[in-house]
Amino acid sequence: MTNEVLLEARGLVRRYGRHVALAGIDLVLRRGEVLGFLGLNGAGKSTTLQILAGALAPHAGRAAIAGHDLARHPRAARAALGYLPQVPPVIDDIRVDEYLELCARLQGVDRSARPAALARARARCGLDDVGARLVRHLSQGYRQRLGLAQAIVHDPAVLLLDEPTTGLDPVQIRDVRALVADLGRDHAVIVSSHILSEVRALASRVVILHAGRIVHDGDNRATGSVCLRTARPLDPAALPAAMAPVALPDGRWLVSGIGDEDDVAALASAVVGSGAGLTELVRDADDLERLFMQLTAGAAA
């Protein structure tokens, strides 16, 4: 991940009549980040993405894509982003290849670069076999993939994906996750979802939106934790500095700040090295869920 800021939003406000859908959203996204946008239905996720995509105007605030202000330089800003709305924006009466060609032309892809761009988007989204088919004859899963293909056909710096795995089967979901992970390496990606496991699998950073406000913005990996038990008393100072151990009443330790498998291995190694004797180590998979439920408890009640 570099420090290059590809998306910046300040104070986004959007109302629908008296209902405040967004009450001041600030967001900065850098190249290499995959941001998981979590929230209950109606939390404002899709509204935020529509504003960032330039498809909806905010009542207040501003957004910039790849350094181009959306209000002052809308064409340059829109050319730098790919947007997959909740309902794939496909055209029923044309063929898959024609649709992708149209999207590439709308996004200003040069004639010479178009065949390669189309081939790449088709291959990445598994559409090679359906190029000649009418869009109206595609299944829901293929329509979703086509929506994803139009979002990446011009190789944008920023990708906004609103519930990209809706309607996909497990194999397709796995493929889309792999694609997003791949794209996340040198783009900035926002994936909106209300499915926790989806965000946990896809995102490097999690933003939780509730009632139009950001109530959590943190590293996805840092939200992980493990439970461990030792044969002898454990000295917390023996653990890596980024990890925060809390003693549980049943004698176990809850250690937060655990990201990937390397962190788990480092923790196990530190505990063993301290001489406390590691007897149990379990990854606490529900940490994000617990955080989400805690932050959105008002709505659930």
Binding site: R14, R15, Q50, A53, G54, A55, L56, A57, P58, H59, A71, P74, R75, A76, R78, A79, L81, Y83, P85, V87, P89, I91, D93, I94, E98, Y99, E101, L102, C103, R105, L106, Q107, G108, L134
Partner: protein, 247 residues
């Protein structure tokens, strides 16, 4: 401009892949053929009475009046979903998220509609061209009538596009466009009923077509059709621009 042309090509494909376009063209051509045949038969039966106005007045002029009425009723069916349907399906919001400008969007949609409207005009113009074999049809009147039909079709395509830009319900757009089209057509009656209402009569598409029917191409009439069409397009662009830029 390139993006607008890309959209126009896509719209043309969409239109011609839908059965509605072919049905309208087939019904339109069938209707025109029947009208033409009836006018020719009537002329042959009453040749002695109609000889004074000739084939040009008795067949050609009346035929084009029918073609214009056909366009008036058919075009709202074609244009009603062109933007309203896209708005309802979410496609318009997607187009807003592309670098395509609002004017490019309207131009692309218009060119798509005109690909079908142009086919209607061309098909309508072919049938009376057969009169050139064997009768003394005035080619100037014929050309003026074709131009009048083309301008009339352009105006109603733009009007339909504007109606479609204003709503998300295609049926409402269709009814709105048809209502305004009929008002423009019958505004001429205001002048007939009250000679002082000439200003209202001046807004009548029917009165504007009268010169073309007689073979007289007036620059004022041409300008009226072009300016009114451009005004409809400008309003559609402004509406979409407001929808896009304003909360």
């Amino acid at each position: 401009m390139r993006a607008a042309l890309a959209l126009a090509a896509s719209e043309t494909r969409r239109l011609y892949r839908s059965p509605l376009a072919w049905l309208l063209l087939a019904l339109g051509e069938g209707f025109m053929a029947v009208v033409f045949m009836l006018l020719v038969v009537r002329y042959l039966e009453h040749e002695s009475e109609l000889r004074q106005i000739g084939v040009t007045g008795a067949v050609l002029v009346r035929y084009f009046a029918s073609a214009e009425l056909g366009a008036l009723f058919a075009l709202p069916l074609v244009t009603m979903g062109i933007l309203a349907g896209d708005r309802a399906s979410g496609l318009l919001r997607f187009l807003y998220a592309t670098p395509l400008s609002s004017s490019g969007l309207v131009l692309g949609k218009l060119l798509g509609v005109l690909s079908l409207a142009g086919a209607y005009v061309a098909l309508a113009a072919i049938i009376p061209a057969t009169l050139f074999w064997g009768t003394a049809v005035d080619p100037g009147v014929y050309a003026a009538n074709v131009l009048g039909l083309a301008l009339f079709t352009l105006l109603h395509a733009c009007l339909g596009l504007l109606a479609s830009a204003l709503t998300r319900v295609p049926l409402a757009a269709g009814i709105g466009a048809l209502t305004v089209s009929l008002l423009l057509w019958f505004a001429d009656w205001a002048r007939r009923l009250d000679p002082d209402a000439a200003v209202i009569g001046g807004w009548s598409s029917l009165s504007r077509l009268r010169g073309f029917s007689a073979g007289l191409v007036s620059s004022a009439d041409v300008a009226w059709f072009v300016v009114t069409s451009l005004a409809c397009l400008a309003l559609a662009v402004a509406w979409l621009d407001c929808e896009r830029r304003l909360p």
